[in-house]
Symmetry: C2
Subunit: 492 residues, 2 copies
């Protein structure tokens, strides 16, 4: 049959398209959702079949979705063989996990390989994620899954015995400490090739925020070059192919709004390991709407991270931090970038909480790496106050390319305090949702600016929050939701 | 935006297609897998978005998959509004089920409604099925799910206090008793509007078998007319919209090769209830490869069916039968049809096991319906032997239309016994797989003919099985698999 590229973005699932009146398809007894193998020269690919009507793919041709077409790697209109394919071997393991059995190291290697190769249909991938979520993974399994994820993609390697990294498990809006910590650590002489992610469920990921100020899509050789010169970088991890299975798993979790502990641990540690890290500082914010809603849950999570870190040969330091309210003033890519720059430039208006948390974590990271023992915080403060951190940030930014001032959305709406009092609580989830309705992270100038934090005194009529959007429509969505949830910021 | 029909068969999932360079899409911040609402006049539909390249759908247009297009029900090129849509309400229930909580009656109504309306993505539908499989459903939940499934589609109603039906939970190849039982029951004066399904996992469903002999795709009004005249019919249930959520759930189970007990019970009883049945005979074959591998498991399943039948107001009689080997000689649509006709015509070569099992079940059904108390088997035998059952079958067939002799595949391969001895076991699963590899049920003439059953004496060189296929290729697939599994029929 003739191969045709069908420009459908199927999120890494290999999909093949065949006309419903194609005689070859009928002779082979092919039906929608069957798995077919497509062979061209010595290359072969397994895809899930969609039977389509005449206008999508002509009779005598087999269509492939973007990702499948690229993977097969032969040109449009090539002659290919099409045959029914057996299900991937690892589906037995998937079924075992579903039935509550534990899998072994080899099983996870095969499952992850099949996921990365796009051999799982959406149904199968979902079944794996849901089974792992409900039945859980023990420590052995979590280790094996993590190792398999590391091995399934590219791995960065640095010529140093200490390669530092940090990660926050998330859930706290505005918590954009990474660019500040990385700048301090690199200025202190620590090797910190920082790869960050884009938002999956939040109004901004670190990569989204950085992107409003600089280029973050670098290839591995560019990363090596910049890190060699400046000890650090601030890039989007997605541009290098680190633990790619993780992205597919996260997408399913995201669309179901679930978050399995084992999968989260595996995801985080696999990304760190694949990025070449040896010393990792892990921030677990504790509070309503985070991944650890109580201190007790935080401690359990910390212990599990500690155990897995040891198994994977990582020097891991886990710290529990206050996640009860947003950090900083801005929530949304450009708004958070403004906060970061204010802290780095020692602007008197810089959010104190963001500055303090960044210094605390930077200090912890320096000490974890064996620098400034007992004096980490002081050293971090020196580097920030002296302008060394800003200088490091700017050097990295220059090498990465593009030097921009983060641009805020031009549609704004102010919400004012309705009474005098003291701010008692700020709801992380509602704040995130408002920022998302305003357009964050896709519209990078969108988001919400918090004029006050918990314990601030406030007077009736004073500015409480300002919503930023890039269109009238998004602004009104967000403003309506904000007004409907008037206790998002509780004044008592 | 302009509406375009995109001829992609998406298995009832509503899918919308938007060009990746469409400015409206960008302004709305739409991404692949987002949920969008499409509004035309007063009609609205929620679909999962696929972002596609230029050649699939033009800029300024929104494409809809077949099923979504039909559901929206406006003409091609109509003007429609497109906006981001909220996730269906019932996703909270889905998440609760995933987290191990029980759902209530209202939850199941909403879940089933959203499934039937195509509002669930593949990911969500799979998550529901897997969660229900792992976490199970208690009797309350199973009842509510069943009632919701009944309510979600059309329901047949007959003007009689006794409407008989029968069902086998399956797993035994060749077990084609239904046409025989229904013919006997209808001839005895029992109202039996028999709706059957096509194969999901087996080499033939009753509807596949019937279709080799007659038209089975009838609308409700045709069914009412035929049943009024002949007390019965033999149709494909899929042509009437009975418990449509069930088909979608089964598809997911099928592709994962899983089979949750609660979902199975719910599926079977919902179909019976929706078909208007009041008295249902349920056959649970017990044996390796069936849904009840041991007598103990069969008893547990029977008790659960009994409890649910009572809750749903059905007169249910559950019988456990021998499912240790295939029933009849043919496996595959046309081969099974031949067996059925041989039994109905009292052909001396008719498979004894199929005849005996059909008479036993027909007798049980007559007694369940309050006819021939204690004499059901004898009465059934009279009706079959006298030719009344055949006459009824032929009358129904004439009214349904198309009168065909089942045609067997013309490519055949004989497998002979390799030694003298006695047949000790026949493996249901391997037999089914051979028939499927030969092309059944899609190629209706394909399948496998079993010359012998367990306990038969056999001599070396005698015919053991004959494989039928409709192409050389399928035949060789099936023959190879058969030879690789030489102990499928064990001779000792």
């Amino acid at each position: 049959m003739r191969l045709r590229r069908i420009g459908i973005d199927t999120h890494r699932e290999n999909i093949a398209f065949l006309a419903n009146d194609d005689l070859t398809g009928r002779a082979l007894g092919l039906h929608s959702m069957d798995r077919v193998e497509i062979v061209a020269n010595s290359r072969r690919l397994v895809a899930v079949l969609n039977i389509v009507e005449g206008n999508v793919v002509p009779v005598g041709a087999i269509g492939l979705s973007n990702v499948a077409f690229e993977k097969l790697g032969v040109s449009d209109n090539s002659l290919v063989d099409v045959a029914p394919a057996e299900a991937p071997e690892s589906l037995d393991s998937l079924r075992n996990k579903l039935l509550g059995r534990s899998l072994n190291s080899h099983d996870y290697e095969k499952v992850v390989e099949d996921i990365v190769q796009g051999r799982y249909s959406k149904v199968e991938l979902t079944a794996f994620v849901v089974s792992a979520t409900i039945n859980g993974l023990n420590d052995d399994e979590t280790e094996w899954l993590t190792r398999a994820m590391v091995n399934s993609g590219d791995q960065l390697k640095f010529d140093s015995t200490i390669v530092a990294d940090k990660h926050s498990v998330g859930g706290v809006p505005g918590n954009r400490t990474t660019p500040i910590i990385a700048s301090i650590a690199a200025a202190a002489g620590l090797l910190i090739p920082k790869t960050s992610s884009r938002s999956v469920t939040s109004p901004a990921g670190t990569a989204d925020t950085l992107e409003t100020m600089m280029n973050v899509e670098l290839q591995a050789d560019q990363i090596y070059e910049i890190v060699k010169k400046e000890n650090g970088c601030l890039v989007w991890g997605g541009a290098v192919n680190l633990a790619p299975a993780d992205d597919l798993i996260i997408q399913v979790e995201h669309s179901l709004v679930i978050d399995a502990q084992s999968l989260m641990i595996s995801s985080i540690l696999a990304k760190k390991k694949a990025a070449g890290a040896t010393h990792v500082l892990l921030d677990i914010p504790v509070g309503y709407g985070t991944k650890a809603e109580t201190l007790e849950k935080g401690e359990i999570l910390k212990e599990r991270f500690d155990r897995l870190g040891r198994r994977l040969g990582l020097e891991l330091r886990v710290v529990l931090t206050d996640g009860s309210q947003p950090i900083g003033k801005g929530i949304g890519p450009a708004l958070e970038a403004q906060d970061v720059i204010m802290v780095l430039t020692n602007n008197p208006e810089a959010p104190i909480d963001l500055r303090e948390k960044s210094l605390y974590l930077a200090g912890q990271l320096l000490e974890l790496a064996g620098m400034s023992t007992g004096q980490g915080h002081t050293r971090a403060q020196q580097i920030l106050t002296s302008g060394e951190a800003l200088d490091k940030f700017e050097r990295i930014r220059t090498l990465q390319g593009r030097h921009e001032i983060p641009a805020l959305g031009t549609y704004t709406k102010d919400i004012l305090a309705e009474k005098n009092g003291k701010i008692n609580a700020v709801d992380n989830r509602v704040i995130s949702r408002i920022a998302q309705l305003a357009g964050a992270p896709h519209n990078s100038g969108a988001g919400i600016y918090l004029a006050h934090h918990v314990n601030d005194d406030i007077e009736k009529g004073e500015l409480l929050v300002r919503i930023f959007a890039e269109s009238e429509e998004s602004l009104s969505f967000a403003a309506r939701y904000c007004l409907e949830n008037s206790d998002v910021i509780k004044i008592v």
